[in-house]
Amino acid sequence: MHRRPRPMSNREQRIAYVRKAAKPAAFLLVYMLICRLVTGTICVAESSIGLPCPGCGLTRAWKAALHLQWREAFTWHPLFWLVPVIAAVWLGQLVWGKQKSPRWLTVFLITCFSVFLIVYVVRMVLYFPHTAPMATNPDSFTWRFVRALRWLWGKVG
């Protein structure tokens, strides 16, 4: 006789979620390492399409902040301090939250998203494409791919 599976407890659901995330997380870590070796950056957006993303400069900002160079940190990314806040809120909700996706979390995350987007537009207007971290990356995969196509086209033509 076919038996209905027992519904998972909250703890079991969390463990299942972490298990589900482990495989792609490992894959992404390896991929980021390859990006670093080939294109000189771990940023997936910058290494793939060669354009800066709204998160570009966060690692360098945190490096500067850990050396207590606050001015430099804010120059690399003015919102670097917001990342641990977002991570803490999101993870806190994941571990201790009673409701799965409460409305306040969505509102909070959309607000953070909008702030990051606005800051990104301002930084693009001010610094793109000449000043790091908002500079282009000619070593990115897409740019290399386009260069290879051009080279092939030149050979054929």
Binding site: S48, I49, C53, G55, I86, L105, T106, I110, T142, F145
Partner: protein
């Protein structure tokens, strides 16, 4: 049975291009909510969409979970869903178009799913 909103995939891709990818993220969120409702559980963590602005791999992870959830939905409803996650990633990395291909394929599949259980049109009255 839950029936989501049918949408034209071409229109969605064009809207995403026009809005520099912002509409794509909104669509990911909406689709995640619909798939969760259809499956009756939280198969996709929709809040991840908004965090992905900081770190692009999060949106890839989101696509991965969406891909798994769509496989489950297809199995539940007797349809076929072929996983294209790796192709989406490769097209994103080398040509920057993987997300648009993903959007097109996912919405086309979902339109098929929603069509299956769409209520019949009202009778024609002269």
């Amino acid at each position: 049975m839950f029936v989501g909103q049918k949408q034209d995939p071409v229109k969605l891709v064009l809207l995403s291009i026009v809005t520099c990818g912002i509409y794509y993220l909104y669509w990911l969120y909406k689709v995640g909510e619909e798939v969760n409702q259809a499956l009756g559980k939280e198969a996709v963590k929709t809040s991840l969409v908004w965090i992905s602005i900081i770190c692009a791999p999060i949106s890839l992870y989101y696509l991965y979970t969406l891909d798994l959830a769509l496989g489950e939905l297809a199995q539940q409803r007797g349809l076929q869903w072929t996983s294209n996650f790796l192709i989406w990633v490769l097209l994103s990395v080398f040509a920057g178009i993987g997300s648009f291909i993903a959007m097109f394929q996912v919405q086309t599949f979902l339109n098929q799913v929603w069509d299956q259980y769409a209520p019949p049109p009202p009778p024609y009255v002269q």
